[in-house]
Amino acid sequence: MAETTSTAPTTTDLVRGTLEGRRVNPVNTLVSGLLLIALLSSLLVLAVLLADVFGKGWGLLTERGADFLTTPLSPNAVDAGIFQGVMGSIALTAIVIVVAFPLGVAAAVYLEEYAPTNRLTQFITTNIRNLAGVPSIVYGLLGFSVFVNLFSGATGGRTVITGGLTLALLVLPIMIITTSEALRAVPTALREASMGVGATRWETIRHHVLPVALPAILTGSVLTVARAFGETAPLLLSGAVLSLYFAVPPEAGFVSLMTEQSYTALPMIIYNWARQPQEEFVALTSAAIIVLLAMLLIVNAAAIVARDHFERKST
């Protein structure tokens, strides 16, 4: 203390004085505090939901084990399983991936890499964004009128194929937007490098642009597919069965599960069970939700593995 008052301040002291501001900046602290609260409250809601679901359903899941997945639906809570729901959800997801992914990527590649920028393409781009915002129930109506009525010959009517195609339509705009954004993020310099050594446009896209964009495309696609996975409304309208009985027994095999006009999916089962008055269905509902979440996690994990694989390949 005595020293600092006796000697004149050195340059270091002066500079330190200008560089070291107030330790506590109130605005800064307030803002970061508010942001933290926002984050924590959303995490808290999630945690409460999860705790509730696991609290109600975990017991039943551990007690029934894999049987819960392989037992067919039943109106009696004691022996009700989710077999048809799991199969239906897997089939729906597979159809969405097989249809919407290639179609969405191809459409985006055309829009971003080939189509000239003019009024028409701008109009199309704008409307793809609009379509992405259309409520899913509208897609259900569309699926009903197109796939159930118009093309019933090809889809077989109210089959899982109709449901899958309806969900594919639902996610297609988002798939196109995600892919477009991923393609736009690929630097022009890479395209120039490739075209500069005499690659054609398609070679440039296939060898350089798509590999670089793929991780981002995959990440976006997973979120999109995950959305389709949880949808109920479009399935309700396009023919999924909402019943405690089920027309097609699991013994009938995969093909009839796909082609019979009677399919269901996990979200449908959850929706239905949640409305049952009996106490036992509460545990069943929660157990089905846990299975749905687990399946979502698996899809996500698969996409992360795929993304890392391609990321490593392209750097």
Partner: protein, 301 residues
């Protein structure tokens, strides 16, 4: 071939200095030109013929009425202030402007007498013969080997690809530095090495011409020096057209220099134009236009 233009012109200028000869900047450039050990310009035949070449980006006329002859196995430098259309002109030579949707070319540009913008010309074929090195090194995010081999592979080149890779990397003076790590990413190299990798990639397709757009602008002086030496080396086999910001560099390496500037019309339209195109040492020692002289003496702007 002939040493005479360099020495003679240098002497003439010193004996009878124009007013600007007193400018230090101009003196320095003259020294650079005079100290060059390379041959002066040649009597080589024309490879690119530009006649009234005008380029538009949508409605904006970026550069107008460029008429010049670029000769084989020479280094031609395009210099001038930023925005005068050097890159725009350079990117016409291999139809790179085709990638920009709004770009449109008027006038004529021939390559060995063939109209490059002719109806039946395939730009992909053009780019195989006329390679390009960009301002910012842009290796593919792939291995060094794949970077070099890509052009020959898609071009269906005959011959052992390994040999092509080695030969190209040797020509680009990069072989010794990378021969033990050909399967490592091209992006892991230093900036100067990346640019030499891009040069190796460009020469791997055995082009006729190398176009270089400010290839040293993101490199340090040592890397720049290496690229300059490399250009002089490559001149034996290739025609090189280089855009450079650096007048010293143009003076050091080029045989001929084209000086561009920006014309501002009464209504404020800025259009690039070719002011003077001459043998490099003549352009730097006794420019015929005052605009050129002002620019090389640093009086510009």
């Amino acid at each position: 071939m002939t040493q005479e233009p360099v020495t003679e012109e240098h002497r003439t200028v010193n004996a009878d200095p124009t007013p600007s000869a007193t400018d230090a900047a101009a003196d320095k450039l003259r020294d650079v030109v005079a100290d060059r050990e390379t041959e002066g310009p040649t009597g080589n035949s024309t490879i690119f013929g530009l006649r009234g070449l005008t380029v538009y980006y949508a409605d904006f006329r970026a550069v107008k009425e460029v008429t010049a002859d670029i000769r084989e196995n020479e280094i031609t430098a395009l210099i001038g202030p930023s925005g005068c259309g050097k890159s725009t002109v350079l990117r016409c030579f291999n139809r790179m402007n085709d990638l920009i949707e709004t770009a449109r070319v008027d006038g004529s540009l021939t390559y060995h007498g063939v109209d490059l913008y002719g109806k039946n010309v395939d730009p992909v074929e053009v780019r195989r013969r006329i390679g390009m090195v960009f301002q910012k090194p842009n290796p593919f995010p792939k291995s060094i080997y794949e970077n070099v081999v890509y052009g020959p592979k898609i071009g269906g080149m005959k011959g052992n690809l390994d040999d092509i890779v080695e030969e190209s990397l040797r020509k680009a003076v990069l072989w010794d530095e990378v021969k033990d790590k050909l399967d490592e990413s091209g992006l892991a190299l230093s900036g100067g090495q990346q640019q030499r990798l891009c040069i190796a990639r460009a020469i791997a397709t055995s082009p006729d011409v190398l176009l270089m757009d400010e290839p040293c602008s993101s490199l340090d002086p040592i890397a720049t020096l290496r690229i300059e030496e490399l250009m002089l080396e490559l001149k034996q086999d290739y025609t090189i057209v280089i855009v450079t910001h650096n007048m010293q560099q143009a003076a050091r390496v080029s045989d001929r220099t084209a000086f561009f500037t920006v014309d501002v019309s009464d209504d404020g339209q800025r259009t690039g134009k070719l002011v003077e195109f001459d043998v490099t040492n003549r352009l730097f020692t006794s420019p015929s236009k005052t605009e050129t002289e002002d620019y090389i003496t640093g009086r510009f702007g």
